[in-house]
């Protein structure tokens, strides 16, 4: 029983770590995410639109299977977790081998290895020491470091470059897992909401996507917001001055614009929208005394419910602002919150006469008493309130994502552009009893470019040897074999 359990778990492990499983999982992810872009998705699409688009039975099926919100269903998240597990399993299974390769480089090649290495060459030399030191000079000339490997019965030369490249694939896979981790953390602990503020107001209540409210441990105060437009009227810039208020004290402040949010304690506040509230901010009008032939007009400014003295006796108070008014059955109603057809209601009070008069602008027959007002009013400017819409997001996992992105960039650079190349130089005695320098090399990728590099190494060694060789034998017998297995010297070529 224990044995079968072990074999079962081994089987699962093997299945998980196989490249075939990985590819099947990737294909499944591709199919389902493609489906998610074709089938209308729930939070983005209105319920009405969904009902219009699909038949009731179909919609029920889609809802039950989660196909209307694929990217947040458990089975899709489960699929992504399976992909992560497959990456982990595949990496864990292959990593020890690569690590051994990395940690214990093969420095002194034995005869079997020398026989089968595809890229190799042989150069006749006078003696071992002369050949090896020439090779050392050659590598140094080409900017490669060398190491003398001394064994009991032999000594040889080893040179390599960018061994880290052997581990590059694992760096890429690890960074992918890091990105996934950040993503999972965010889908579990992250949240997004909305906050609407008018200048001068503050709030710590965030409206979540599902309509509930969330209280954050500090308040955000809006100290101003505005819009700038281009000459053609299209928006150029939206900005908001925000301050973070904690226990009654302002602890941080920033002017945010689109693309430049405010960050405080892991919460980010983005400029998402901007608009008019339909509430009156300031009304500017000219007031002229009605009785008397020609009084001088005075400019006054009124805010909501504000009272302003017009002279020693008379004062005016703004009591009502209707952004889009309509009159029905002798009463004034608001049709909408858009400032398209505004009306204001003011009360002009005279202390002496103990009278108060309802003044409406514009005049609304049957309701206003403008005629009996001691002043006539002439509206100059109307400033309505503005609001700024802030997206609030909390993404604790995003640092893992960005770290993963940086790491993946490094990893991919290593994978594709950094080649691990190794060279060995071993003095051997060939079949005819001559001392030759056996030179071999490998690269883990981009082999055709490596062949050229190898060629230049061999040529450089020959150049370093030349005076000695010319003096001793005068034979230029060298072979550079690119792909053939046998790298024996062909004399007299």
């Amino acid at each position: 029983m224990v044995l079968s359990l072990r074999s079962a778990s081994r089987k699962i492990w093997q299945t998980l770590s196989s490249i075939k499983t990985g590819v099947v999982l990737i294909i499944l992810v591709v199919i389902f995410s493609a489906a998610g872009t074709v089938i209308l998705q729930r939070p983005m699409t209105d319920a009405d639109d969904m009902q219009r688009a699909y038949a009731p039975a179909m919609l029920r099926f889609l809802d039950v299977t989660g196909l209307t919100d694929i990217f947040h269903t458990r089975w899709f998240v489960g699929l992504l977790i399976l992909v992560s597990l497959s990456i982990i399993a595949a990496s864990v299974q292959r990593f020890p081998n690569a690590w051994r390769y990395f940690a214990r480089p093969y420095k002194s090649p034995d005869e079997g290895f020398r026989k089968v290495l595809p890229t190799q060459a042989q150069i006749p030399v006078a003696n071992e020491e002369q050949g090896l030191s020439a090779a050392e000079r050659a590598f140094k000339h080409l900017g490669l470091k060398t190491e003398r490997i001394v064994r009991t019965d032999s000594f040889s030369l080893f040179s390599e470059r960018s061994r880290i490249s052997e581990l590059a694939v694992y760096i890429v896979h690890a960074s992918l897992l890091l990105i996934f981790l950040g993503f999972i953390v965010d889908s579990l602990y992250g949240w997004r909401g909305f906050l609407m503020l008018s200048p001068g107001t503050a709030s710590n209540q965030i409206e979540m996507k599902n309509g509930t409210m969330r209280t954050i441990p500090f308040a955000i105060r809006c100290d101003g917001t505005g819009e700038e437009t281009y000459a053609d009227g299209s928006p150029k810039r939206w900005w908001s001055k925000l301050a973070v208020v904690k226990e009654g004290r302002e602890v941080s402040s920033k002017e945010i614009v689109v693309n430049d949010p405010l960050v405080y304690q892991g919460l980010r506040f983005y400029q998402a929208s901007y608009g008019r509230t339909g509430k009156l901010d300031q009304l500017i009008l000219n007031a002229t005394p009605a009785n008397g032939t020609k009084g001088t007009p005075q400019e006054i400014s009124l805010a909501m419910n504000q009272t302003v003295a017009l002279d020693a006796d008379t004062s005016v108070q703004l009591v009502e602002f209707i952004p889009d008014y309509v009159v029905q059955d002798g009463r004034v109603y608001a049709r909408s919150k858009d400032v398209v057809n505004p009306a204001v209601h003011m009360i002009v009070t005279s202390k002496k006469a103990h009278s108060s008069v309802n003044v409406w602008l514009p005049e609304i027959p049957g309701i206003n008493e403008n005629a009996s007002s001691p002043y006539t009013f002439d509206p100059k400017d109307l400033k309505t309130g503005v609001f700024t819409g802030l997206e609030v997001s909390h993404e604790p996992g995003q640092w893992a994502v960005w770290a993963g992105v940086v790491l993946i960039a490094i990893g991919l650079t290593l994978v594709f552009y950094v080649v691990h190349m190794r060279f060995w130089v071993v003095p051997v005695v060939d079949a005819r009893g001559r001392t030759v320098l056996w030179i071999g090399g490998t690269a883990n990728r981009n082999r055709d470019a490596f062949e050229l590099k190898f060629k230049s190494v061999v040529e450089q060694i020959q150049k370093e040897l030349k005076p000695a060789v010319a003096a001793s034998t005068g034979v230029q017998a060298t072979s550079i074999s690119g792909t053939s297995v046998s790298g024996t010297t062909i004399a007299g070529r």
Partner: protein
């Protein structure tokens, strides 16, 4: 007289060079007269016109090379490409200076940069890798690109707040480079298949499937009783007409839908004939299929001409609003490029059908093409990764979240996964040659869908491009 000369000395190729030279001199003279009239030499329009003239000359010479294999053309062709690239660089620089931001903000600016990239890549592929015939394919694309630019609204538009970010430029530049590398790997994979003795009729099937896909996508805009829906265009403000925020107004061009349906049938015919010939093992049907391709090219050209005429003139009713509205080519860039792309793909097939032996002689050998394809994808993949990362970073700053599962994002991820699959199969499973080439072609198909298909069929947050 000239044609006689060509027949007498087909190998020297002087005639074509002289003819192209004379044609270009004529066009440049006309342009010079215009410049004298307007008095402004180095305007963007003039630079673009010069680029068009040079690219057209280069395209003619490259085509001449592709068809006859005369090496003498290449020298002049690449000279022309250099000149065109120079003028194009001037236009890009002018645009950049005028707008104050790199030219990626509208479809016009994207095309401007795309054509530049294409010309530069052509020269690189030719000089560095010795793929001389590539200009035969890329130059016509560049010419179509420049002509499309003349039709699109070109004034410098201010950037809306969400686009005012350095990350936009990083993101789009990377996307441009990545997609160009993907396109190159696709072209190389196709050349590999030609060199790998893949039967010509398979290319017929591939071309037909591509064209059928195009017309199927166009027919998603088919409106009942034969109309074709296109987006309405406000000529005064040079913008699409919106009903509400983000919802565009569609107008119905009557009868154009029927024509598209007819062309759909015409492009389906070669595919059906091909399938029939495979099922019945009847080679004779393939000859019929080739003839059907020829007919379908004629019908496609007809559809393009009618589309151009109907869209450029006339007012059309809409289902969603009262009154008549105008439309413009600028409002339907995707349909336009789809129609042009379909014709182009079929013409390339004809080139292959008639000149296969010459092409095989001109192209590098299969092994080299296989290797270069892989190397190109090795360049494309990191660029794709960084493009997605830069986009995510920008989205995080602009919308508050680095990943929204928006269709464009999702399809970018799918593209990435497909190329990741290619690399795994190639590196760990040793996939070489034909299977790898098919995979590279699939990758580019997904890229094309992400770039065109998603914008046209699956609108989302990514409304800018």
């Amino acid at each position: 007289m000239a044609s006689e000369k060509v027949e007498q000395h087909p190998a020297t190729g002087t005639t074509l060079v002289v003819m192209v030279g004379l044609g270009m001199a004529f066009l440049l003279f006309i342009a010079f007269l215009n410049v004298v009239k307007s008095g402004n030499i180095l305007s963007e329009a003039n630079l673009l016109y010069a680029a068009l003239v040079f690219y057209a000359g280069a395209g003619a010479l490259y085509l001449g090379f592709g068809v006859t294999g005369t090496d003498a053309y290449i020298k002049f062709a690449s000279l022309m490409t250099w000149a065109g690239l120079l003028a194009n660089t001037g236009a890009v620089a002018h645009r950049w200076y005028e707008a104050g931001h790199p030219p990626f903000a509208s479809i016009y600016e994207m095309l401007l940069s795309f054509v530049w990239t294409l010309a530069a890549l052509t020269l690189i592929a030719e000089k560095r890798y010795g793929v001389k015939v590539i200009g035969t394919v890329t130059m016509p694309v560049a010419i179509v690109g420049v002509i499309l630019m003349q039709l699109l609204p070109s004034e410098v538009r201010p950037l809306v707040p969400a686009l005012q970010s350095t990350w936009l430029h990083v993101h789009v530049t990377l996307a441009m480079l990545a997609y160009a590398a993907c396109a190159l790997s696709f072209a190389l994979a196709m050349m590999f298949l030609i060199q790998d003795q893949v039967k010509t009729e398979l290319f017929l099937a591939a071309t037909s499937i591509f064209t059928v896909g195009i017309y199927a996508a166009v027919l998603t805009r088919f409106e009942k009783w034969g109309g074709l829906n296109v987006i309405a265009w406000d000529a005064e403000n040079k913008t699409e007409v919106f009903i509400s925020r983000g919802v565009r107004l569609f107008v119905t061009i009557p009868d154009l839908g029927w024509l598209m349906l007819l062309v759909f049938a015409a492009v389906l015919a070669p595919l059906l004939l091909y399938i029939l010939s495979r099922v019945k093992r009847n080679e004779g049907l393939l000859a019929v299929a080739d003839r059907a391709v020829f007919i379908s090219i004629l019908l496609q050209s007809l559809a393009l001409v009618f589309f151009l005429l109907r869209v450029r003139g006339g007012q059309y009713p809409s289902l969603d609003a009262d009154g008549l509205y105008a439309t413009s080519l600028a409002a339907s860039p995707f349909i336009l490029s789809a129609l042009v792309g379909g014709i182009f793909a079929n013409l390339l097939y004809l080139l292959l059908l008639w000149r296969r032996a010459d092409l095989e002689r001109l192209l590098p050998d299969a092994d080299a093409l296989d290797r270069i394809t892989y190397k190109t994808i090795c360049i494309a993949f990191p660029l794709l990764t960084l493009m997605i990362a830069a986009g995510a970073y920008w989205a995080n700053r602009a919308w508050g979240s680095y990943w929204n599962w928006d269709p464009k994002e999702t399809w970018a991820a799918i593209t990435w996964l497909v190329y990741a699959g290619y690399l795994h199969m190639r590196i760990t499973r040793g996939w070489r040659g034909r299977r790898a080439a098919y995979f590279a072609i699939l990758g580019f198909a997904v890229v094309m869908f992400t770039f065109f298909g998603v914008t046209y069929l699956l609108p989302g947050l990514h409304a800018y491009a």
